[in-house]
C-alpha cells in the first residue's frame, strides 16, 4: 500500500530486501528509539514482511557488528536497544557531572519487596519492613515507572496490589524477573555478611554509604 511507497527501491518487494539495508534501518531505528523495541515493533519497519526469525538473526549480526564499540546492542525485557558500555561510562559522566539522585533506603527496600514478593499491598510492605511506608516512597517508584498498581486485593478496603513494570526490568538491564539476583537463603542472611559492613553508625544513612561505594565499583572497570 501507500506506506511502502514512502521510500524507494529496497523494499518494493519483501523478497528483494537486502540484508545490509535491513540492518541499516534496524540500526537507525534502535539508535533513535527512546524505548527498547521488541520484535513485533521492529517488524513494523518493514510492514511485517520479515519474519521474526530473520529479524532475530539480523539483530544478532548487528550486535556482533557493534562489539568493541562504546555502544552495545542489548536485549532486555522490553526488546532490543543500544546503550553505552560500562567502559565509556566514566568518560560520559564528565559531560554531566551531577550525579543523578540516589534513592533512600526506604525506597530501595520497598522496591526490593515489590520486586521479590509481587504483587504486594502497601500493608504487606509495611509488615515486612516493620514500619509505615509513606505515600511519597511509592510515588517515587511509580513516577520512575518502575512499579504500578496491577489490581486490588479482595479484602476490606481493597488495597492496591503493586508489581514491578517492564520498564523496571529494562532500566536494570534484565530480560525477566528471573534474572534478578536470587534472594539469600534465610538462614544464611545474617551470617553471610560481615558485622562491620552492617554497622550503620553514625552517618546520615539515607542512601547508604555502602551503596555509593558499590556504584563506583560498578562503573570502574575491574582492573585488578
Amino acid at each position: 500500500m501507500s506506506g511502502l511507497s514512502v521510500t524507494s527501491p529496497p523494499f518494493s518487494s519483501a523478497g528483494s530486501a537486502i540484508p545490509a539495508e535491513i540492518k541499516r534501518i534496524l540500526e537507525a531505528a534502535l539508535l533513535t528509539s527512546q524505548e527498547p523495541l521488541p520484535l513485533p515493533e521492529l517488524s513494523k519497519l518493514f510492514h511485517g514482511e520479515l519474519n521474526a526469525e530473520v529479524l532475530r538473526r539480523l539483530l544478532e549480526e548487528l550486535r556482533t557488528d557493534w562489539v568493541g564499540k562504546g555502544v552495545e546492542l542489548v536485549n532486555v525485557a522490553g526488546g532490543w536497544r543500544f546503550q553505552a558500555t560500562a567502559e565509556v561510562q566514566g568518560f560520559l559522566e564528565r559531560l554531566n557531572p551531577q550525579k543523578p539522585p540516589r534513592y533512600s533506603r526506604a525506597v530501595l527496600e520497598t522496591l526490593a519487596i515489590i520486586a521479590y514478593r509481587q504483587p504486594v499491598t502497601r500493608g504487606d510492605i509495611e509488615e515486612i519492613r516493620g514500619v509505615g511506608v509513606s505515600a511519597s516512597v511509592l510515588k517515587a517508584l511509580e513516577s520512575r515507572g518502575w512499579i504500578a498498581a496491577v489490581g486490588h486485593r479482595d479484602v476490606p478496603g481493597r488495597p492496591a496490589l503493586y508489581a514491578t513494570t517492564v520498564n523496571f526490568l529494562n532500566d536494570l538491564n534484565l530480560r525477566s524477573l528471573e534474572e534478578l539476583p536470587p534472594l539469600e537463603e534465610l538462614d544464611s542472611v545474617i551470617e553471610s555478611r560481615g558485622i562491620m559492613e552492617l554497622l550503620p553508625v553514625p552517618e546520615p544513612m539515607d542512601a547508604g554509604v555502602t551503596n555509593t561505594g558499590s556504584l563506583l565499583r560498578v562503573s570502574r572497570p575491574a582492573e585488578n
Binding site: V6, E109, R129, N173, P181, L183, I190, M205, S214, S219
Partner: protein, 269 residues
C-alpha cells in the same frame, strides 16, 4: 535466664518504658543532637534490632531475649529522655519483645513439642525476612541502572521530514455526502436526483479516453471484456455526455464508422 529479667518479667505493657534503665549502652556516647540523626538511620524497629543483634554478636536463631530486650529498651529510653519523637512502631516492638521475654519465663508447656512453641519464632522469622529484603535492596541498588550507570542512545530524529498526508476513508466521503444532502435539501427543498453511479463513472472514463484525441472510434469506448450491463451503462454514459453537450457523435457514412469527439477539443481548435 539471668537475674535482670526478674523485675521485667511481670512488667505490664503499659509500663514498658518506665522499665528502669540499668545502664546506658557503653558504646553509645552520642551527643543528643547526633542521637536523633543516628536514630533516623534506622528504618524501623526491625532494623534497630538487627543492628543490636549484630553489634552484640547475638545468635539470631537463638536470641537471648533478655539481653536483646534490655539493649532495645536502652535505646528507646534514651530517645524518650531526649524528648525525641518516637514512632509508634518502636513502642509496639518494645511490647512485643517484652511479651516474648515473659512468655519464655513461663515453664515450657508440658505436652507440646518444644520447637513450635518457641515464643521467639515469629520475631526471628520477621527479622530474617527483613534482613533478606535489606540485602536484596542493596543488591538491586548495586545493579547497573539506566541513566545512572549507563546511558541510552538518543539519536536525533527529524520530525515529519516527509509530509504526512491526510488519510480519507470511504466513510468520510459517505459522511461528507450525507451532510451535503441534508444541507442541500434543507436549503433548497430540492431533490437531488438519484443517479446510477456507474453511469457517472463511465462518463468520466469516456471523457478521459477522449482527452487529447481529436476523436475516438465509437466501438473503442466499449471494453471487449465488458458484460451486457456495462455495455448498456457505457452507452447511457455516452448519451448523457451528448445531452450535456460534452461530446459530439458523428457517422460520416451510413453504416460506416461512428466517431465520438470531445466538444472541448473541437472548441479548443
Amino acid at each position: 535466664m539471668n537475674s535482670s529479667l526478674h523485675h521485667a518479667g511481670a512488667a505490664p505493657v503499659a509500663k514498658i518504658c518506665g522499665q528502669p534503665l540499668t545502664e546506658l549502652p557503653a558504646d553509645l556516647y552520642i551527643p543528643p543532637d547526633a542521637l536523633e540523626v543516628f536514630f533516623e538511620t534506622f528504618q524501623g524497629p526491625l532494623d534497630l534490632l538487627l543492628y543490636l543483634i549484630r553489634k552484640h554478636n547475638l545468635d539470631v536463631l537463638d536470641i537471648p531475649m533478655a539481653e536483646l530486650t534490655r539493649q532495645y529498651m536502652a535505646y528507646i529510653e534514651m530517645m524518650r529522655a531526649n524528648k525525641l519523637e518516637l514512632a509508634a512502631e518502636y513502642l509496639l516492638m518494645a511490647a512485643v519483645l517484652i511479651d516474648i521475654k515473659s512468655r519464655m519465663l513461663l515453664p515450657a508447656p508440658v505436652t507440646q513439642d518444644t520447637d513450635e512453641g518457641d515464643p521467639r519464632a515469629e520475631i526471628v522469622r520477621r527479622l530474617l525476612e527483613y534482613e533478606q529484603m535489606k540485602a536484596a535492596a542493596q543488591r538491586l541498588n548495586e545493579m547497573p541502572q539506566a541513566e545512572r550507570d549507563f546511558q541510552l542512545t538518543n539519536v536525533w530524529i527529524e520530525e515529519a521530514v516527509t509530509e504526512r498526508l491526510p488519510e480519507v476513508h470511504v466513510d468520510d466521503l459517505r459522511q461528507a455526502w450525507l451532510v451535503l444532502m441534508a444541507r442541500f435539501q434543507a436549503n433548497r427543498r430540492h431533490q437531488i436526483t438519484r443517479e446510477e453511479l456507474s453511469v457517472r463513472e463511465h462518463m468520466t472514463r469516456i471523457l478521459r479516453l477522449l482527452q487529447g484525441h481529436k476523436f475516438v472510434e465509437f466501438r473503442d469506448l466499449f471494453s471487449r471484456a465488458a458484460g451486457i450491463a456495462e455495455l448498456v451503462v457505457t452507452f447511457l454514459a455516452l448519451l448523457e455526455l451528448l445531452k450535456e453537450n460534452q461530446v459530439e457523435v458523428s457517422q460520416p457514412r451510413t453504416f460506416g464508422m461512428i466517431y465520438v469527439r470531445p466538444i472541448s477539443y473541437i472548441s479548443a481548435i
